[in-house]
Amino acid sequence: MAGKSDHEIVPVHEILRLKEVNELLQEKHIALENLPKIMESDPQCRKLGAKPGHVIKISRNDNGNAYLYYRVVVEG
């Protein structure tokens, strides 16, 4: 279901469902505000229509090393 990003430098962004958010926070033993942030006005956020409080799942790939990264949407 992962879409294609609009530039080779942009990894695929997806909004995480609430259930998945809770699972993630429990697994990592952290609070929502401890996640790295992403602005609501970020081009990728606007594309997804993400609102503050949403968690964005980012499918990163650093030199062939694929992993998931998460950012919480904040106002701005």
């Binding site: 530039h7 080779e8 430098i9 962004h13 990728q44 990163r60």
Partner: protein, 348 residues
């Protein structure tokens, strides 16, 4: 039999001070870098900032790079055919009025400005005097009349100051191409034979709207331009890529993970922050950590005035007071259960 290293052995262990390691790993080879880049006359079109000045520029999150540079990839036939590529390049290359003008004369008594265009320059940019006049008229809402290579602009005022102001504006007007894109030069990839453009500008917002430009690969070394256009993740990748490219150019090999960590730290807040006084170091939670870096007195006085509390969980503040730093074995504490304590026999 040589023992092969498993993936796990490359993994970071719990409580490893990755930030310190990244700082050391970039800082030490950084001392080997050239401190100032020299510019040589006559080589190619643009020479990018390199070496230490470039690293400083990236790490301090400077809004504009000293030498912006865009790599513009092309789609379709433009990627193979030199003529098609030149055509795209002409659409991008910024042509300012002052390069086209041979002479400009103001007549203050009649309130007119007379511009004589250079035929040679017009030809090389494939423009006609009519096009220039139309563009000027549209851009600045002026009455222009064309006669041969001369354009006469009649003003509604005879005010010397206003006419002068318009003249200055005319000379700066962008007649064709993209404002802030600089000159786009066609280049050829030695390996794939693909054609692409390099321009000494970073106005990627407008560049990718040009027909024939590959939107999904066009790249600029201006990290903030990438951030505005593609978002924070693109900025993070661009930062790491630029750091790596700068180090590679000087034949300094630093593990990419250190650079990625720096890029991650700089972009963790959702926008790009430098590492200095106004960025990561200046926003540390601990008072002592901030005071130990720069502007000691300011931080201590503010902390005293507002009754700040320092939980002493970081590295810097613990070094400052001479305590064990919470890193590696220092981050665990030993405890003994009460019932086990009873079993301990005192030495005879």
């Amino acid at each position: 039999m040589a023992k092969e290293k498993k993936d796990d052995e490359f993994k970071v262990k719990f409580s490893e001070p990755v930030g310190m390691m990244a700082a050391q790993s970039v800082g030490e080879p950084g001392t080997q870098m050239i401190l100032r880049s020299f510019h040589f006359a006559g080589i190619e079109s643009a020479i990018a900032t390199s070496g230490l000045p470039r690293i400083v520029e990236l790490v301090d999150a400077k809004k504009k790079p000293a030498t912006p540079l865009s790599t513009i990839y092309l789609t379709g036939s433009a990627a193979k055919d030199i003529e098609a590529a030149e055509k795209v390049s002409r659409k991008i290359t910024e042509v300012k009025m002052n390069t086209l003008v041979r002479r400009i004369v103001e007549n203050f008594s009649k309130g007119t400005i007379k511009i004589l265009l250079s035929g040679q320059e017009l030809e090389s940019e494939e423009l006609t005097p009519k096009q220039v006049a139309d563009k000027l008229g549209k851009l600045m809402k002026l009455d222009c009349s064309v006669e041969g290579f001369a354009i006469t602009i009649s003003m509604h005022t005879k005010n010397l100051r206003e006419i002068r102001a318009v003249r200055v504006k005319i000379m700066r007007a962008v007649i064709s191409g993209i404002d802030g894109a600089g000159k786009a030069v066609v280049q050829k990839d030695n390996k794939t034979g693909e054609l692409y453009l390099i321009s000494a500008g970073s106005n990627i917002e407008s560049i990718i709207t040009v027909e024939g430009v590959d939107k999904s690969r066009t790249y600029t070394n201006d990290v903030f331009a990438m951030y505005r256009q593609f978002g924070i993740e693109a900025a993070r990748n661009a930062l790491a890529r630029e750091l790596k490219a700068t180090l590679d150019e000087q034949k300094i090999s630093v593990d990419i993970r250190h650079l990625l960590l720096i890029a991650d730290a700089m972009t963790a807040s959702g926008n790009i922050k430098g590492v200095g006084r106004h960025g990561l170091s200046g926003e540390k939670h601990s008072v002592f950590a901030r005071a130990a870096y720069e502007e000691t007195i300011k931080h201590l006085i503010n902390a005293a005035a507002f009754g700040e509390i320092d939980p002493m969980r970081g590295v810097t503040e613990n070094i400052l007071v001479g305590k064990q730093i919470p890193v590696g074995t220092g981050s665990v504490k030993l405890a003994i259960r009460k019932e086990d304590m009873a079993k301990v026999k005192p030495k005879a």
